[in-house]
Symmetry: C2
Amino acid sequence: MEEFSLIDHFLRPLALAPEALGLRDDAALLASRPGHRLVVSADMLQAGVHFFADDPPDAIAQKALRVNLSDLAAMGAEPYGYFLCLGLPEGMDETWLRAFCDGLSADQATYGITLLGGDTTRTHGPLSLSLTVMGWVPEGQALHRMGARPGDQLCVSGTLGDAALGLIERPSAAHARYLRPLPRLSLGTALRGVATAAMDISDGLVQDAGHLASASGVGLRMEAARVPLSMAVRDAIAEGRFTLAQVLTGGDDYELLFTLPPDIALPPETTCIGEVTTSPGLQVVDASGHPMHFARPGYRHRWEASS
Amino acid sequence: MEEFSLIDHFLRPLALAPEALGLRDDAALLASRPGHRLVVSADMLQAGVHFFADDPPDAIAQKALRVNLSDLAAMGAEPYGYFLCLGLPEGMDETWLRAFCDGLSADQATYGITLLGGDTTRTHGPLSLSLTVMGWVPEGQALHRMGARPGDQLCVSGTLGDAALGLIERPSAAHARYLRPLPRLSLGTALRGVATAAMDISDGLVQDAGHLASASGVGLRMEAARVPLSMAVRDAIAEGRFTLAQVLTGGDDYELLFTLPPDIALPPETTCIGEVTTSPGLQVVDASGHPMHFARPGYRHRWEASS
């Protein structure tokens, strides 16, 4: 397997839009869309950090795409296309690459996106992926993390904690949520002009809610008992295999966290879990109204400095 | 050192344009530029493949930016901004990060670009960088690899082989060319509406010229004796430390290869090295007019498939 045949056989068939120039030029050439802004999100995923090297290759591809699509959803954007940089270790065979690209192909159809360009390189480390994903949002209608106002409802989509449970219990129904997040794109566009603030929950609800509070310059009061849980997560908590704290601080949910004015009805499959307050910071209370504290509010990358 | 303080202390000061949203949102929000197309190039660089882990951190940052800027130059684009994904191994200290970001900052000033977004993660492998760089080109004026016509002049900018020599002779003046390529942005914009085809030379003149010939559906006849050489490369060849074949097939030149109609005068600091022909493929001839052959026409990433 060699760089140019990899591009010919696997990547070019994914890049059919004219602006990709058949992956034959030095760059892609994108037209603008009148009345819209281009929303751009870039994420890097590393084997052993964001996924396991032996996860199914199509799931690795789809997770990489979907974590970026989730960022577009959080901005209220419609997906458009993506750039893929692929750092491949020795020993990647064609079967792996075929499955990886089949995963991209399936998600291109699901989400209406196309490969626009990118790069393939060797790496002496583990598999390394970087995607830059683009979408469109009508001028003036993008959702932001700032904008939450005291009195607003604090809301989340779907159920939380499934991916964090799926990370420690493989295989399981929850593991599917870890492998393949479901970006909330329809909800994101429905929230345009309605939500006062929005973001996606990627690194744990408590930590990410703190970022929303900080960006908006407000406080948030969250009632842990109102956080929506799937049956699988309820059962796992009831059986002592999982805790509510793990739900609230575990990563990889890729649901939307957003605020709505008090008089606005909640969209389908969303839940009000608290409210926006004037006192800065995040307060999480348990079913009895007592404050909850967390040693580790969410997932963070840390680097131990060498001496 | 932790993810959010890294962003606060080192990256946010590089992201002052309003469309970066202070790196506080889920994505960047780019306005379009009327009458222009957005030119987008994405490249991944891995320590041990594209640079040495112990290269100066500011040079690593600048090389990553400049190889992408060279792609913009090849399309005739003016630089606009970039997204940076940074996969950091354990043991990266603040001194390293400070120098790396100082390199970005200096090049932002040099090239009139700004950080628009990105991601920072841990990696269990070597340092891994991925940049997506954007520029603007007036509608209908982008340069492409296709378009070369028989009878056109085949031209290159600058001198070739310096970086390939610099890779094997450290330290040296040539090594500076390896560490910090000089993207030919002014030449790229000057070639708009003039050059019939253009690309940047990143993986070796012979290999890249073959790509240009193939994209244009033409042949190229190149005279090796006309390839412009610096004094350092001439001396190295004269002293037997380097060969003309290494010049013609070595990577990392980041000069422009382009074709001009026969009646057009060459821009400054460019050299005609041959012509476009009708017979498909690339023919390289030596000073006596004899065809030259190369075991390895340029740099390619290869993966040995595991059994």
